[in-house]
Symmetry: C2
Subunit: 255 residues, 2 copies
Amino acid sequence: MNLRLQLAYDGSHFSGWQSQADGSAVQDKLEAAFRTLVGHRIVVHGAGRTDAGVHALGQVAHAEVPDGRPAAAWKAALNGNLPREVRVLASTRAPKSFHARFSATGKVYRYRIWTDPALPPHEIGRAWHLPIRLDRTRLREAARHLEGRHDFRRFSANRGTPMENTIRSLHHVRVRGSGSLFELEFEGDGFLYRMVRILTGTLVKIGSGQEPLTLLDQLFAGEGKPGRAAPAHGLWLVRVRYAHGTAGRRTGTIP
Amino acid sequence: MNLRLQLAYDGSHFSGWQSQADGSAVQDKLEAAFRTLVGHRIVVHGAGRTDAGVHALGQVAHAEVPDGRPAAAWKAALNGNLPREVRVLASTRAPKSFHARFSATGKVYRYRIWTDPALPPHEIGRAWHLPIRLDRTRLREAARHLEGRHDFRRFSANRGTPMENTIRSLHHVRVRGSGSLFELEFEGDGFLYRMVRILTGTLVKIGSGQEPLTLLDQLFAGEGKPGRAAPAHGLWLVRVRYAHGTAGRRTGTIP
């Protein structure tokens, strides 16, 4: 059976999504739980390869599992064998053709920034503490300018593959939050390596007045210098979209 | 100068608000920071004596401090000498007559419950994980029934003082959240020791169908058995109200 998993994890406890030699990645934890349950390796494919420190509210994965256990029962079985910092929120049967990564039609990422000199304790490890003045109107303008189909090569940390297609569509870039909280929400058909963090670093340069809005057009044209990648712990994979309905919907809020 | 502080803290790192012999309370951390800054003891008075594990988004405190430093500058000075799990969000000059506890006209507490069998990792230590079926409509009915002026003696853990006035007014009891998240918000003129946690434990008994709604009237009449106090880590002191405007307003949200 092709099993589809909806997952949440606290990125500060793992060395990212993708399997590591020391078994410290989220994928490793899931594969270890499967091994305990079925006695052999089951490969888990994730929709987004989140870096170390990046959080997930709605990661999606799939795995080919033996029949016999109802799809919904895998949720409790896996959670019983996982560290509590990674949870299966739902397990459902997927069509044979479903692939968490290749079937995905879009993703939603959120980047959280706190600008007051005092970071509220419940934001530790969950937002980038950046005590500078950000102009919300300027940020909104820059965010709108990012929307659409562009060459995001300059916004990728992956410089080793010049032949890669680096054209992507950002459907929406929203600036939410109020007061000291800035939540940048990026919705697009696909994201290059570190793209959201570099977009955030660049938006911050513009929102603080250090760079003009025109920097974005320069970068789209393959020129100019983007901002430094924002730290991993402010980034959240919120949702993964598929053609028929959505998956990876976030479940609830935290005060 | 009478200094008023707005504070947030992560309750899991401290043995509650009130000073302990081992210096592990939030009050101790504040008084230690003041001592470092001025060289002698300064007594800090808090609005609410939160138990160990209880979180604060908007605690208020006051202290008599030497003149010389502007009120607003105490925020950074104190934060530079506090563990990062307690933060001064604002420091302002208060009238001589202002007392964080005795001047308070009301408080808002929130109790957070997560009912799905899988607790999302970002809710660890921030919500009571109670994987049972709660009837939102029944909970709302019971919440409404709590509103008003009642004798809450049966909802207090403080059984040693029979002469104490245990009549309090609950202005609003709201049931928020959706899906697996239940947020019970209690707004009142004052709260007895452990009152919110015992109210929550009792609401859960009614919301799960274990007890009838009429239990509340019994308890108001000094009869019957309340539910057990809900665990501390689901409780949040959200706001403290004063006659002229409000203080301790929460600042922002967490995804």
